[in-house]
Symmetry: C2
Subunit: 235 residues, 2 copies
Amino acid sequence: MDFFDAVNKRRSVRRFTDTPVPESVMRKCLKASVLAANSSNLQPWEFYWIRDEEKKKKIVKRCFSQNAAKTAKEIVVSVSRIDTWKRNRNMIIEEHLKKGKLHPLVDKYYNTLIPLAYTHDRFGIFGIFKRIFYIFFSIVGFFRPIQRGPIYKHQLFESVTKTTALACQNFMMALVAEGFDSCPMEGFDEKKVKKLLNLNWQCHVVMIFGIGEAEEGGVYAERFRIDDDLVIKEV
Amino acid sequence: MDFFDAVNKRRSVRRFTDTPVPESVMRKCLKASVLAANSSNLQPWEFYWIRDEEKKKKIVKRCFSQNAAKTAKEIVVSVSRIDTWKRNRNMIIEEHLKKGKLHPLVDKYYNTLIPLAYTHDRFGIFGIFKRIFYIFFSIVGFFRPIQRGPIYKHQLFESVTKTTALACQNFMMALVAEGFDSCPMEGFDEKKVKKLLNLNWQCHVVMIFGIGEAEEGGVYAERFRIDDDLVIKEV
């Protein structure tokens, strides 16, 4: 499907027909998701395709049994993580070495700057230390532009969730391009969803997708966007 | 362009040719961005297309004069906001009324729940009050699934930035579909960029796009993704 046709066609669908979503479609769309742009190529995302019927029922309940979950043929939970960077970073470096060389800038970036940004503890103590260190660094900012973050754990979460959302949009668009639909849900009990999927404190649930074929009336309202000139500004 | 072709073609391009990007392409792609999925339809995004040459030079400096900014033919700054919800919410409600009715659930959602989630002060005091109130609410969570957030200001920022990222991926893909490329930059001095664009504390700069036609060698490395089964899990 043409990209702009897919953009126009994509809507949040809240009721799905009984038509199953072929496994091949699910796999193709999930694979397309992780080709999205991402921060420092650290790929901090995870997509849980819920195939176990018992788990699926539980997820539906944790989404407050809303129609978009209840009638969904497939459910996917997208997750952002601040703890997979080390594994992924090592793989990136390995790949560079396999190709013959690790540029000193790449080395410094992945072995010094990334650990500084990504290392955190559960209670945010590291974040406070970084903030204190940062006071001195920010003096430099009076004289030239400097990187301002992420410093605190919650800023890092904003960053990994941002990256994961890029993949999420690819996923929704891919489903449309394959003739299916989805509803990205943010109404769910994150604590209970995390428990079900054995996710630790270093994970956030980004959104949960109900997936299927749109039922007639499954889109609840006409698309409404505020005027473009309120949000697209030429300056 | 076919959606999956665009997915495969999209790469972060860090050096651009001198070919200009037609205005019509920029407008078409920006318009496609804001058709992305978004949280509660509150459209908390803004896209600043930097057209003024002086401003553009300043933005390049604030992006540490990296090639992706320096050689970019066009620059767009994407911003997420926690302060446009009231205006946008009012427009949504107006639209419902224009169509003839405001469903009591919609009314309650936009006039009670959304203000509860979106009202914040600069210093996070409201967030602390919400957290205290939430302790009582969370007792309910022992018995049934409940919504766990956003409570703090930084959680709301994670939410609006997440939504804005959905639009960002659409933007990058749209450019590819139109035969152009981009580099989403996160390396910039956010404080100085915000100052230049007169953005208040209720805004985060999500990413800055360098845009143009890819120069040969403008993609710095082959695409590398970790194995799919590390991030796509069937459970």
